[in-house]
């Protein structure tokens, strides 16, 4: 095994890129779940974002437009989930699974003509001063804008939930929709907005896969990233900071095992490929084993304003 072929600066840099799609999707889903809705359609929304973002970027030549189109498409798709579960009171679990299937099918239909094409990708930011620091500059400060946007989003979601009145109302709705309704808050409207936000985040995550990380369109390219995002939300005890840890951990182990494979580690490839899933879940279980879990009390329960 030739470990010297692994360059630490490149390794860290690629960890950040590998973690970003999952971070975005998990962050969006966390907000949705904080509002008391369980949307299992993250995988479907991510892949829809991936294909719409790719197609838009290829046809317009602008990756920025691609990201915007991806966010919009996934958010609109998630609104269909919102309409079914919040207005028509369908079962959230079944509808979410359906959303994943719809997303996978729809994306392969849309994506057929784009297979094998190459898309324009986001430029690396050239941050003055910071980017010139030796090693660190290349490791942390020479990425594309989405990496930093996702990190800022973590901060924004954390501050929104902790310090703003709107965030408090969102948490209250997820905690007890009956009480929130009794106080006169519009439970369904608030939840629909949260679902919309979650959809947009998942779309951005998917587009990051197809426009930056790979960057290509292949059918089923999310390969379970949406499910990992869902798991990360639970094991992160619905906290933005821990979602960040979980996503970077998963991204880190993914990149590390790929590097190990390339370096010819004498461990079966199957075990290496499995390791990101195993290690992420294990670490987050250990973190969440201590202390309160904090699942929103109304999570997944249907709300009907009859009484």
């Amino acid at each position: 095994m030739d470990l010297s072929s692994i360059n630490p600066a490149l390794l860290i840099a690629s960890i950040m890129i590998s973690a970003t799609p999952i971070l975005l999707a998990a962050l969006g889903e966390m907000v949705v779940e904080k509002a008391g809705v369980l949307n299992l359609g993250v995988e479907g929304m991510m892949i829809t974002g991936a294909v719409v973002g790719f197609a838009t970027a290829v046809s317009t030549g602008s990756p920025t437009l691609g990201f915007m189109a991806a966010a919009l498409a996934s958010a609109v798709l998630s609104l269909s989930f919102g309409l079914l579960t919040q207005v028509m009171l369908s079962n959230q679990v079944a509808t979410g699974l359906g959303l994943t299937l719809v997303g996978l099918g729809l994306s392969s239909l849309i994506g057929k003509p784009y297979e094998g094409m190459k898309s324009p990708t986001l430029p690396k930011l050239d941050i003055p001063l910071l980017g010139d620091i030796p090693v660190l500059g290349r490791m942390l400060f020479s990425h594309d804008a989405m990496v930093y946007i996702s990190l800022l989003l973590v901060l924004a979601v954390w501050a929104f939930l902790k310090y703003t009145r709107a965030g408090l109302i969102l948490r209250a709705v997820g905690e007890s929709h009956d009480a929130a309704h009794a106080l006169g808050y519009k439970v369904v409207r608030i939840r629909l907005m949260a679902i919309f936000f979650g959809g947009a985040c998942a779309g951005l995550g998917g587009a990051y896969l197809s426009l930056v990380r790979v960057p290509q369109w292949t059918e089923g390219m999310t390969s379970g990233a949406g499910w990992i995002a869902l798991a990360i939300v639970v094991f992160a005890s619905w906290r933005a900071g821990r979602v960040l840890i979980g996503a970077y951990l998963f991204g880190g182990v993914t990149v590390l095992q790929l590097n190990l494979q390339a370096a010819g580690a004498r461990v079966p490839v199957e075990i290496l490929s499995m390791s990101p899933y195993l290690i992420t879940i294990l670490v987050l279980v250990i973190i969440s084993a201590r202390g309160v879990h904090g699942a929103p009390a109304s999570l997944g329960r249907p709300f009907h304003a009859s009484s």
Binding site: R165, L168, I169, R171, A172, E175, S176, D178, A179, A180, A182, L183, G184, Y185, V292, G294, P296, A297
Partner: protein
Amino acid sequence: MADTLLSLRGLTKAYPGVVANDDVSFDIRAGEIHALLGENGAGKSTLVKMIYGLVKPDRGEMSLLGAPYAPSEPKAARALGVSMVFQHFSLFNALSVAENVALGMEKPPRVGDLARQIREVSEMYGLPLDPFRIVGTLSAGERQRVEIIRCLLQDRRLLIMDEPTSVLTPQEVEILFATLRKLSAEGTAILYISHKLEEIRALCDHATILRLGKKVATCTPAESTARQLGELMVGTSFAAPASRAQATGAVLLEVTALSLPAPDAFGTPLREIAFQVKAGEVLGLGGVAGNGQDELLAALSGERLAPAGSVTLKGRDVSRTGPMARRDAGLLSAPEERLGHAAAPAMSLVENGVLTAARREGLVSGGFVSWAKARSFAERVIREFDVRTPSPDTAAGALSGGNLQKFVIGREILQRPDVLVVNQPTWGVDAAAAAAIRQALLDLAAKGAAIIVISQDLDELMEISDRFGALNEGRLSRIRPVSGLDMEQIGLMMGGAHGMEVAQVA
């Protein structure tokens, strides 16, 4: 003559199949404490929901200080100074006191200012409260303070209180009454909903009585007897349970040093619980909700296994056996939550009968349910306990609370238990049905069963039990004979006023 604050004229609200309020009119004057009295299902809740803007009336109008008043949502009502203290579904367990208060306000101040205001107001009205505690860790009485303070911090003209004392110890009731009198003296009118007659006589200036959605009277409670009020409320008189000769036999159930950790973050641990019940005896266990009642029932019924040696049934240790084995041995139970715990809402009464009576009544043979036997068992429960239902095939969830409660209790009683544990047997049940359930429990005891009644209704416990104990934070007080107990002693057994000692030190 004081000013009229809120005037209701001809309020009518119908739901499919039932008229909840039919042409209700009365006035509430500024600064008075006005009682709204009625049985469960008399339409009290619908009426106050209309005042609070949660429900729109079909017909009729309201006016506040002479101006037309038709709140489209609670926000509008609060803006005009009308606020409400709910009994259920109004607090968020995982949030802090300050956050809960902020959610009930239109324009909450910054967290630091709000916390200071909460401290000030809570001390001014004798309701000490720490703004940063998580609500899930508070006692029922403290939770109510959160709601009251939420109302006090806003412009208030009318405060609606929905059955505020059902979760309080007698000492806490006194504190609450003092607060309400103080508010009333400051000019805030209070609409006080209750079915506890003595309370209303002690507190309220006027009372409006509802029966089956119609107003039957407005009177001055201090000038009426509880019996007169009760008859106005119920419409007919009903039999009080017959007294019986006390003849107790051998000890059937013995609990010693029963300790169990809390089942979840907001549950109560059981600490060193010990008592005995003899054949023919009714043991009443009181206490404010959330002091270990559900946990004790789970430990007795076998839903949660207890430490070896802590639960002995007829001389046999059953602590490590599950509910089925305990049922086989004669220990039956009926939990508090009718829908979802005592009965499966979407299943028919016949099926719900099979769920607990399958083995004792032989409704199953060779793994197959005998539906004929199951049906006749359900029909027997329905007949003997006067369960009003279209048929035994009706879903349990479609029955009214009182009728389902009669079915749930009847189902256990007809299985001839040696020991029966019931939690809140008459909660949300109308007076006539409650009397019938109490009588059935007494009859069962007279036949030689030992009965444990866990309840928050002290009057009920005084009426049917031979001995009384109170649960407080998972501990059981000393068990004392009911005869000779007064409210003061009972209140102390229940733990006095929760949190008051802490406040005086601080």
